[in-house]
């Protein structure tokens, strides 16, 4: 057990796995000598050497594809995609190649690769460097997608991802890199398992990444008794935990960082509604960002992803009125 920053937990997870398994190699842009644009590979080159730890050219398609090929041949590549948007030039290798290799080879090949990518808004990187883009990986049987919410899950999920025999994407909320937390080195996550961050009986709140912390604060502020489910794995998500919670609370809210339309939360709401319709006491809904590109200006960007006060207001409204509260941009008459 130790206290460390989120990004140090990532370094620790990678190093711990690399010590145990010589098949693991690690590459990406400026991850070796410079130790990562976000310092998520401090000391890795030094400890594991230039054969296993490499800087790549600016070639996301090239090095992502190289990871796919290396994984097929028995290595366990971990790659870093600096900003998730860069997969817009390389999505093919993950969705159309890696995710289909086991199927096409009838199980004779697998692609045990891990793709780490930083995601999310809040740091003033503008509309091409601030999205979360989980939906790019939806509807792709064969892929697994994870997102940690604190140092412990950053550590535990990454170790699980690296050990997993299939391609796994770990989306790291960039805004959390500097956050501190305790890390128990003994905990390796189970992919597909959510984690309860709070328990209660009035409402179930499902969140992911930085929104878990936002939701946690909102629960505290609002004083409601809520189950807070940190989903951790987006695909395949933990239906059992969410369904059990909603069976108990009869209410569901999803808190999402991405725009309303077509985010991962729609799957949760749609599935839970289908399965537990008669158990629900009030309409399930999503608290999300608006359907806009992410603005640069600090004041605007701070209103982009749901804040604790947004969430608090909407939780309280929902419990009081048993209906769906409007998002702030409708309440404040700005858009609608």
């Amino acid at each position: 057990m130790a206290t460390m920053r989120f990004r140090q937990a990532i370094v620790a997870a990678l190093a711990d796995e690399m010590r145990l398994d010589s098949r693991i190699i690690f590459f990406g842009e400026d991850v070796a000598e410079a130790e990562g644009p976000f310092k998520t590979s401090e000391g890795i080159l030094k400890e594991f050497g230039p054969e296993r730890v490499r800087d790549t050219p600016i070639s996301e398609m090239g090095f992502t594809g190289a990871a796919v090929g290396a994984a097929m041949m028995g290595l366990r590549p971990v790659i870093e995609i600096m900003f998730i948007e860069f997969l817009g030039v390389a999505l093919d290798q993950i969705v159309t190649e890696a995710a289909k290799t086991r199927y096409l080879s009838q199980g004779s090949l697998s692609v045990p690769m891990t793709i780490r990518a930083s995601v999310g808004s809040g740091l003033g990187f503008g509309c091409q460097h601030s999205q979360t883009l989980e939906h790019w990986f939806a509807s792709t049987p064969g892929l697994k997608v994870l997102m940690p919410s604190n140092a412990q899950s950053a550590y535990s999920l990454l170790r699980a991802a690296i050990r997993d025999p299939d391609p796994v994407i770990v989306l790291e909320p960039r805004i959390l890199y500097a956050e501190r937390g305790d890390v128990d080195y003994g905990i390796i996550a189970e992919i597909g398992k959510a984690q309860m961050r709070a328990t209660g009986d009035e409402i179930t709140i499902v969140a992911l990444g930085q929104m878990v912390n936002v939701a946690e604060e909102a629960i505290k502020n609002s004083g409601v008794s809520a189950d807070l489910v940190d989903l951790q794995t987006i695909i395949p998500w933990d239906r059992e935990t969410v369904l059990n919670s909603v069976k108990k609370t009869s209410r569901l809210i999803v808190v999402e960082e991405a725009p309303l339309s077509g985010g991962w939360g729609s799957e949760i709401v749609a599935y839970v509604t289908s399965q537990l319709f008669s158990a629900l006491k009030s309409p399930p809904f999503r608290i999300t960002a608006p359907d806009v590109p992410i603005p640069f200006n600090g004041g605007l960007e701070s209103r982009y992803a749901p804040t604790a006060s947004d969430v608090t207001r909407q939780i309280l409204h929902a419990l009081k009125n048993q209906d769906v509260p409007q998002p702030w941009w409708v309440v404040e008459g700005i858009a609608g």
């Binding site: 594809g65 097929m72 096409l104 050990r163």
Partner: protein, 332 residues
Amino acid sequence: MTTSLERRNSLYGNDLACYERMVEIREFEKITNALFAEGSIRGTTHLAVGQEALTLGISSTLKPNDVVAATYRSHAIGLALGLSPESVLAEIMGKATGCCGGVGGSMHLCDTTVGLLPTSAIIGAGIPVAAGAALAFQVQKTDQIALALFGDGATNIGAFHEGLNLAAIWKLPVIFICDNNVYGEYSRIEKTTPIEDLHIRAESYAMPHMSLDGMDIHAVRSGLTDAINRARTGGGPTLIEAKTYRFSGHSRADQALYRPEGELKEWQKKDPLLVTEKDLIKRNLITRNEIESMKENMVSELTAVAKKVANDPEPELSAMFSNIWTPSKVAI
């Protein structure tokens, strides 16, 4: 039953066996074409007539534990590497006995026992994948080689550029073979590509490169051997441009009517089967009569295969739900 590996091993140092395999490919494609025309094959096919010398040159020079990343146009490379006509035809026909259990289809052959990675239907995708396989060999310190086989048209896609650059900078044991068969789909190369000799693109990566006659198995072997030697001794990748010709249309029912008058005829003089026959006859390894009866035998064998495969079982419904994910386990 002969395994893929046995069929592969039979090729080494045996020019006659290689020739026979070339005949197999040629006759196999005729049958495929006929089956497609009569509606017995769904979807699409991309015939590899004209690739016989190139693919046999590759398969009789690479070792069976070297790996190949190829494309949708993979019947020839599959058979050359050792896959049986049964397993290839069965895959094309979606049978449970196909090399991918019938879930892949003609664009997705795979047999890891002879190094054929699942072929990709996305242009260029196999190029970085081959580089990655070579990266594994480099890290594992084996003496294996990875080879990417792709078309002339594929040299215009980003993955080609990125894959070659990466392989060069990491000095990976990978060989890139561009099968320049003059056409990408229905477009003659000069319509899409401002240069004629594609291998010079390797200069952008300070990568050794060469052009060779892809219709002549000896030329292929000799060029490839140089590249393999370089790769195995840490000299890094090579780009080989094999000049060939696509004797068939692009896919499905394409008649290739867009070809300039006389072009096909001109290239038919260099038909890889003709070239090899001449060579073998000159070397007294076979006679014209033996060739004729070899071809006849091949036709009847393959006809029998086609008959058998037509009655092979379809995959179970469960096949479409298998081999997608492995349950995650916390174990190393």
